[in-house]
Amino acid sequence: MFITDIRKEFYEVVANQRVALLVASDIDALCACKIIQALFHCDQVQYTLIPVTAWQDLGTAFLEHKEQFKYFVLINCGANVDLLEMLQPDDDSVFFICDTHRPVDVVNVYNDSQIKLLIKQDDDLGVPSYDDIFRDEEDEEGADSGNESEDGSEPSGKRRRFDEGAIERRIDRQRAKREWETRRREILFDYEQYEYHGTSAAVMFFELAWVLTKDTKDMLWWAIIGLTDQWVHDKITHMKYVTDIATMQRHVSRHNHRNEDEENSLSIDCMRISFEYDLRLTLYQHWSLYESIYNSCYTTCHFKLWTLNGQKKLQEFLADMGLPLKQVRQKFNSMDMTIKENLRDVIEESSNKYGMKDIRIQTFGVHFGFKNRFLAVDMVHATAALLESTEKDESNSDNFIKALDSLSRSNLERLHSGIDLAKKKLMAIQQTVASCICTNLILSQGPFLYCYLMEGTPDVKLFSRPMALTLLCKYLLKAFVSSTRNKRCKLLPLIMAAPKDLEKGTVIVLGIPPESETSDKKNFFGRAFEKAAESTSSRTLHDNFDTSIIELKTEDRSKFLDALITLLS
């Protein structure tokens, strides 16, 4: 069931209890986790933090901890499957689920006792009504047996008429039941066909903190990072992003307004969050401007920087803005002040001439101390790189803890190491995209585009992780759409496969919806993959919380693809 008053029905219930926090491995979940940890510290609530990466992980973690805990808080996992059936908990366990995955499973919505959803009900859910899906079986049987007993007591003369009447009624009832069941299947199919994402979990927990008046600037910053993560990894539509940014902007002005009363407001070391209408060049303040333009998806796809022509255009673009090459290749912090002053406006003007209308995006930046300025997008990339780092001897929970630490303000070295890893990741993505386009690795299979990364590709280890592969997939599709001349191919979705585990011989497969301006980011590949796997009995593992990402045995790849082609055409 949906929770209406988050303070009374969630926080006050768990405040005196021991709670288990099961947190999924994405940045939004990490930010939500930091916020709820800070709230728990304020009120000295005992909790255990358990990072989970996939459904199997969730199941094992639950089995380990079900004896000790009654209350479980699940962050960014658990809403889109029938949780009670999967975990088989005791009757007194209560699950609080704050998950961005939609559609929410109908059993979770209509269960009144054990499952509480920390989701806003006006969040565009479209849940089918109760009567359309569930129906009491008892009334029908009672009516049937009543009729039969009536039949038995009637005198024989009228019996035949009554029998016919009873039989007709029974036939009618059965027909109505069949119709109801077909309608139910249709409704459920429509409801569960597309997978998409809702409001960020970090924003939900920030609103809880706000209701408790315990919100601090740190929590506001984490909520902003959680929201930006949804935008960077293309989980929400642009409209929703802009609306949520406006909400966050109200909170930011509220916090900043408090400081404006005193004339010498804050110490320089205090954290200041500001609204920025900043450039879409990833990590440009921590890199050189040239590298940032070269490795950002938006500029690369517009200039087509994998071609010689594109590189010439880039030089023209820089010359048009009057930026000397020596300056542009310097670290951003060491660029001339005269150039840095009007940089954003100069770049916007020039990019309008070159057809890049949206080079600027609404976002937030933070600023504390004399040296430390970060944009929300920078933090997302740095933390994602730490979370999915593929160094040896690092287990998933080590990476999780490192990424979680990098979000605190006191761990700046970790954050900087994250930024370095993110730079390497972005360069790897750029090179892979360039090589895929130049060697025509993207094949049109009819209803979709397909690309397979061979085992020997440089940095292919990076792409065995879901978030990195999603970024690569997105960039690749945008680059393909801008470079191909085939109009039909521009509207196709993309499926990408990359080797995941060499010992077990598996590949990770993921599908993203087609690229368009007004895309609603609804992904139908989850169901498609399930059906294709069933029909060919391929050995697949539908383990990820996002149903559009699966693991598949390398040998079954071709028959799986053929099944998909037949399914989707």
Partner: protein, 192 residues
């Protein structure tokens, strides 16, 4: 003694806070802590004030001496005098660091200690002047081979910074001097 031990001792000082919760009088081994009522100021030790502030349960009122004008006066007085002037509080350095850093970490603006940067600079100025005087007096103590010296108004933190160095260097000097006069009575003292 470690600097962190001195900071630990500094946390026993009392400071005024304004809680936002209510609690009856609590009886601790070190003493009683008065009943807490929201909005009414109460004196508590610094360690409790810091913990409550981190849990967003109180507002800390900066001590009376933590004010820009007063600190400016003290700094000017310190610079004029040759000897050590009385300090605002026996733990002024530690309290400044604890209270101002905490405010920086939490940044809830309503209970900001105003002009934190200037206060930090002024306290550092006072500290620098005093340490310079201490070094000067230690230097003259050694070069003039005095037997004892008296310094008023030193705080524990300042003593702690110079203690190890001064004692070790005095021991070394003693060893060197006693080796110069091998037969003297001072040689009967234990060798360090």
């Amino acid at each position: 003694m470690d600097a962190s031990e001195v900071e630990f001792l500094a946390e026993k000082e009392t400071v005024k806070i304004i809680p936002n919760f209510s609690l009856d009088k609590i009886y601790l081994i070190g003493g009683d802590l008065g009943p807490f009522n929201p909005g009414l100021p109460v004196d508590v030790p610094v360690w409790l004030a810091l913990n409550l502030k981190q849990r967003q349960k109180c507002r800390i009122v900066p001590p009376a001496w933590m004010d820009v004008d007063k600190l400016e006066e003290m700094r000017d007085l310190e610079r004029k005098e040759d000897t050590f002037t009385p300090v605002p509080s026996p733990y002024y350095m530690e309290l400044t660091k604890l209270l101002l850093n905490l405010v920086m970490c939490l940044c809830s603006a309503s209970d900001n200690i105003p002009k934190a940067d200037e206060i930090r600079t002024l306290v550092k100025d006072i500290w620098d002047t005093r340490i310079a005087k201490l070094r000067l007096s230690a230097d003259s103590f050694i070069s003039q081979l005095e037997a004892h010296a008296k310094l008023d108004n030193l705080t524990l933190m300042e003593i702690n910074t110079i203690r190890v160095f001064l004692l070790d260097s005095l021991n070394c000097l003693y060893k060197l001097r006693s080796n110069q006069h091998p037969g003297s009575s001072k040689g009967q003292f234990a060798d360090f």
